[in-house]
Amino acid sequence: MNRKLLRKIVAKTGFAVLLVGILLFTVFPFYYAIVTSFKSGSDLFDVTWWVSSIDFSNYLSVIGDGSFVGSIWNSVLVSFATVIIAMVFGLTAAYALGRVQFRGRSAVLMIVLGVSMFPQVAVLSGLFEVIRALDLYNSPLALIFSYTIFTLPFTVWILTTFMRQLPKELEEAAIVDGASPMTTLFKVFIPLMWPAMATTGLLAFIAAWNEFLFALTFTLTDDQRTVPVAIALLTGGSQYELPWGNLMAASVIVTVPLVLLVLIFQRRIVSGLTAGAVKG
């Protein structure tokens, strides 16, 4: 009896240690960035485990820097526009792929899946030429255009998965009433697709917000940068000493909205990620 109890206690403690370990592993780096962002001057170089005094000077200097605020604005613009474009093309394509049986359907799905596997660097020089030809170089439009390469395939893929799960009786009723496919899509499916659209939109938004390689290559001046590039290129007085306080403050500013989105919509995000991968 005693041994059984002991074993139970050991198992419970082990589980608790495991949980604390997981939490520390996932949360600590972000927590430490927040701690650092509230320090300034020489405090920065004393390692401390918690916030001892709150000093907003890093935040003020980051926000006071016009080009960083401009970068946030560029990121917001690029991410929203990318989501809208992916939705418009993704929903119509998903309707065709998810609800209509036609020849060449699995070939189209293969193409979509294939494009989502493209290494970004493989299209870099070709896209650069296209962007130059369209005169989009060094403008957020270049990013909106190029981000479609990764947002559109998974939008199509996930929306198709969701679209397939809707009962076919709905559509049959619409067909009997003589509704055109366009009307069916807009009046029958889109109202039912809101949860799926929210999920996909969130994933596309996060992907666009975080993208780095295209943003680094297709923009040149500070005022056209998006947030990840602005953070990567943030430099201090000398080439060798990075302004770590400002960097951490900027990191916290651009990450907090994402973390909030994830905490609020965690169920949706999980369902989107699993629909995109497991069922693929």
């Binding site: 495991l18 359907r105 799905l109 493989a122 299209v123």
Partner: protein
Amino acid sequence: MAYTAPAPVDTVAGGKSPARAFPVKRQASRVRRQRLRAAWLFLIPMLLVLAAVAGWPLMRTIWFSFTDASFSNISEYGLVGFENYLVYDNGAWYGVLADPTWWSAVWNTLFFTVVSVGIETVLGLIIALTLNAQFTGRGWVRAATLIPWAVPTIVSAKMWGWMLHDQFGIINEMLLGLGLIAEPLNWTANADLSMWAVIMVDVWKTTPFMALLTLAALQMLPSDCYEAAKVDGIHPVRVFFKVTLPLILPALMVAIIFRVLDALRVFDVIYVLTSNSEDTMSMSVYARQQLVEFQDVGYGSAASTVLFLIIALLTISYLYLGRKQIGGEA
């Protein structure tokens, strides 16, 4: 099976009298034709967009790899054949395939992919098994594990860059405090450590993805075989290896393949954490350096094309193997 020929139309008509059934049938096929036309009308814009952002640029990249185009003036170039790939000139080999830096980038990428995906799979599995248990606050822990996934890669590289700082980093402080190291380590600049620093950041950032996919697979498992195992008094570790692992293996494999394809094109983490250092340079970093920093579009495109071929080969074999699954769902 998403669409069936509009059977209800037939049932409504009753189909008893042949005279009435005929126009109904014609109407049914008209509806079907209309739907087919609409399907293609809906698909074409998407396909055109994909052609514009992916198909055409890819073809141009492959084309550029046979030219001497430069980044500053991309419209004027001459054809050079396979010179960017491999050429024998004056007693020595030149080109991407003869460049030791390229081969070290290939090695770095493979090492990075195998080690980081391996660690992520094991850690993801552990986290998923933990989250699969019933306990209070489970939703919160699951939400917390999602945080690294949401943090932009650039930000996570910078955050870790600060934690791994050689003089003021908390990781050195921790290890010194525990007595594991005698003096601070220069994680991001030391040739032996920098790849491990990169792997550390990547593991932190992408383990949640693996954990969530594994958790989703775990939650779809039937509970009856566990009850049977429990009744038979089989040790949990044995149950895991004999029952759980084989059952979740298909889903786990899909997640691993996704991660492998993703890891092979790694760029952000390495570029931000260790810049263009040769010790950690991946294939993507190498290609971009040639393209943008050295302005050599021809040579950089050749490197990109080789990377594309490697990933395409893997993707095709994956699609070939998974074809049955996708086709079956259709």
